[in-house]
């Protein structure tokens, strides 16, 4: 097409996403920025992964991984309106499958990574599909029960499975050198960042597609969507399958980062965290999971120490989950739209309040 017409469009895209682009730019330069301020090289100090920049890189990699997990959870909970209490299953299982393929086969790190990754994502997608197939036809609460039961079952079983060293898990040392998070942490940082951006764009594209519109319709009123003639089960299955695959990917990033596979990745924490982060950030919004994840994970890092108020010592890190739970309850009761939704509503209200006065007495 003509460049005269494509230029405004390009500019329009740029305009409407300038906040996201600014954040992205910041995250791209962030490791170097920290390195520049503190004087610690982003590539580590003295050939070892030390210094402020490397530390903050790892914090942000964790944020990125959790962001992918939370976005995948938001796809089913926020956009489709299906509640799952077993999302950790996909996260943990993805990591376990990748770990097993890398450590227990002779495929070598590179081929093992590709094959393990593909198998893990495929199995988690299939599992999500099957779980949805048998329980999504029933009313919503059954799916919540079903996912919780399966996730708990895997958690308990794998926590005692001799092949994977039961509750100790096993170390992952057969990783391609490029992804070695000790020596090439900056590379890993950018890889995780790219995956976050891709997940974000994919989900946004999906939700703006006709399929996504049906998902939103299911969330608003499933009976009505059915009455129009959509097979809502199919669409819900698409959502849960995709969410399972993304969560598996996040789990794989997690085990490669930590170089360890353990049953804690299957535990309730990795179901609760995305749930809290989605709701606190804003259910069914695109920015919500990102804000929720970054806000909660970074504040956990900041507050995870002892505070001395007067003569009493308060260890917030120890009671972090308690505080998080209370915040969560307050958010559900008072700000059910989360940060993003409340902010949008506030802005809307302010604009509406200002509109009539503009022509008047100001």
């Amino acid at each position: 097409m003509q460049s005269t017409r494509s230029l405004p469009r390009w500019r329009r895209v740029f305009q409407s996403n300038r906040l996201y682009l600014a954040v992205l730019m910041f995250l791209v330069v962030f490791p170097h920025l920290v390195g520049w301020i503190t004087g610690d090289s982003p590539f580590g100090v003295g050939g070892r992964p030390r210094g402020q920049s490397v530390f903050w890189q790892s914090v942000f990699i964790e944020v990125f991984i959790l962001a992918i997990l939370t976005m995948s959870y938001n796809l089913i909970f926020g956009f489709t309106g299906v509640i799952s209490f077993g999302h950790a299953l996909f996260f943990g299982l993805g990591g376990y499958i990748l770990g097993l393929v890398l450590q227990m086969t002779d495929l070598g790190p590179e081929i093992g990574l590709v094959i393990g990754g593909v198998i893990g994502v495929a199995i988690c997608g299939l599992l999500g599909f099957l779980m949805g197939l048998v329980s999504l036809r029933l009313r919503g609460v059954y799916f919540a029960i079903f996912t919780l039961a399966i996730a708990e079952m895997f958690f308990i079983y794998i926590g005692r499975w001799p092949l994977t060293n039961a509750e100790d898990g096993f170390a992952l040392n057969n990783i391609p050198e490029l992804l070695n998070s000790t020596r090439n942490r900056l590379t890993y940082y950018y890889l995780a960042l790219v995956l976050v951006v891709l997940t974000f764009l994919f989900i946004r594209r999906l939700i703006n597609s006709p399929t996504g519109k049906v998902l939103l319709a299911i969330r608003e009123n499933e009976n009505r969507a059915q009455a129009i003639g959509y097979n809502t089960l199919t669409f819900k299955l698409v959502a849960i399958t995709l969410a399972g695959m993304m969560a598996a990917g996040a789990g794989m990033l997690h085990v490669i980062l930590n170089k360890k596979v353990g049953p804690e990745t299957l535990g309730l924490t990795y179901t609760v965290d995305p749930l809290l982060m989605t709701i606190i950030g804003g259910v069914g919004t695109h920015a919500g999971p990102l804000i929720g994840t970054a806000g909660l994970h970074l504040s956990e890092r900041v507050f995870n120490r002892e505070f001395i108020i007067g003569s009493t010592t308060i260890n917030i890190g120890q009671n972090w989950s308690l505080i998080l739970g209370i915040v969560f309850i307050v958010v559900v009761l008072v700000f059910p739209q989360g940060v993003v939704g409340t902010w949008a509503r506030w802005r809307q209200r302010r604009r509406a309040a200002r509109a009539p006065t503009e022509g008047g007495d100001v």
């Binding site: 309106g81 509640i83 209490f85 048998v134 329980s135 029933l138 009313r139 919503g140 609460v141 059954y142 919540a144 029960i145 079903f146 919780l148 039961a149 399966i150 708990e152 079952m153 308990i156 079983y157 005692r160 309730l268 609760v272 749930l275 809290l276 709701i279 120890q318 009671n319 989950s321 308690l322 739970g325 209370i326 969560f328 309850i329 559900v332 009761l333 059910p336």
Partner: protein
């Protein structure tokens, strides 16, 4: 009628099948069979105490209370502390345990009122958020208990009221803890009591009518919301009572909540969501199944993990094979 008869036949078949399986695999060792049976009944009674609240609350209010396991835990911790804390050692040993049970139950009930009145009531228009909220409350309770009592579990001391903890009786040449029998008896008494409450009192009639159609009950001029609060409180108090009663045997630890929540849900689904009869029958069936599988797995497969995942497996199987449960309505 046809369906009811089919249900009873199914229950009979499953129970007899489980018992026969257990009997055959115990190879004529009646002591081992008796232990399995007793621990099945024991678990069944405890499952009932968690599941009855879940079931009635779900039937009436359409809320699956994921915090029910947490109430069980609260009951256990409170009773444990009242019995063991230094400050209460002055009270007579025989008084301390009943006192702990009463206080634990009351605290559970109070927390139930707080949850229903303060947190769930604003959310009746948004059921998915209620589900999420009870899940959140379960986390807060767990973390709160952790903050107060620490992560270490507690086991009951050897001294108990009336010696119920130590006393044994003998059948088939094997020693049985009398306490388990006591718990079974308490469970049965409660089944009857709650059943009478539902069948023979005015409030019970309202509750049963509300399970059928709460809007209609409201249209008749009955304050359904007040009944909701009462039922929710009762359900939470019964769960806390269960924890209190279980404490001398199981102690108090942070794993208890989930260890009883999931079997409780399995019971409710097996019985049919909202059916009291189903819950009572389902409790003992799930209890028996867990006990039978536990013994079989530990004796023949040499793996204890199967006992822990049996409730989940059962839940999954029921959802796959008969999602409406034994006594549930065949809808949706």
């Amino acid at each position: 009628m046809q369906r009811t008869r089919g249900t009873y036949a199914l229950i009979l078949t499953l129970t007899v099948g489980l018992l026969a399986f257990s009997f055959i695999t115990s190879a004529g060792d009646l002591g081992s069979f008796g232990t399995t049976l007793l621990s099945g009944l024991f678990l069944g009674a405890l499952y009932f105490l968690v599941a009855s609240g879940l079931s009635i609350i779900f039937g009436l209010m359409d809320i699956l209370n994921f915090a029910q396991g947490a109430y069980f835990m609260v009951g256990a911790y409170v009773t444990y502390s009242l019995f063991h804390l230094e400050a209460f050692q002055g009270i007579d040993v025989n008084l301390r345990f009943p006192l702990g049970v009463v206080v634990g139950t009351i605290i559970g009930g109070v927390l139930g009122v707080v949850l229903e009145r303060g947190l769930l009531r604003p959310l009746y228009a948004r059921p998915i958020f209620q589900l999420v909220l009870t899940f959140g409350v379960a986390i807060v309770f767990g973390e709160g208990l952790k903050a107060i009592w620490g992560t270490e579990g507690y086991s009951w001391s050897t001294v108990t009221s009336f010696g119920i903890h130590q006393s044994q009786f003998e059948i088939f040449g094997r020693q049985f803890g009398a306490y388990r029998l006591f718990v079974v008896a308490v469970g049965v008494v409660l089944i009857v009591l709650i059943g009478l409450l539902l069948q023979r009192t005015r409030i019970g009639i309202i509750i049963r009518a509300g399970v059928e159609d709460s809007e209609m009950v409201e249209a008749l001029g009955i304050n359904v919301r007040a009944v909701f609060t009462m039922v929710f409180t009762l359900g939470c108090a019964v769960a806390a009572f269960g924890g209190a009663i279980a404490a001398p045997f199981l102690g108090a630890n942070l794993g208890m909540g989930n260890a009883f929540l999931l079997p409780g849900i399995a019971v409710v689904v097996l019985g049919g969501l909202g059916s009291y009869m189903g819950t009572a029958v389902g409790s003992f069936m799930v209890g028996l199944a867990v006990a039978v599988v536990a013994r079989f797995a530990s004796e023949f497969l040499n793996q204890t993990v199967w006992a822990s995942i049996t409730p989940m497996l059962l839940l999954i199987l029921i959802l796959l094979l008969r999602p409406s449960g034994l006594f549930g309505k065949e809808s949706r």
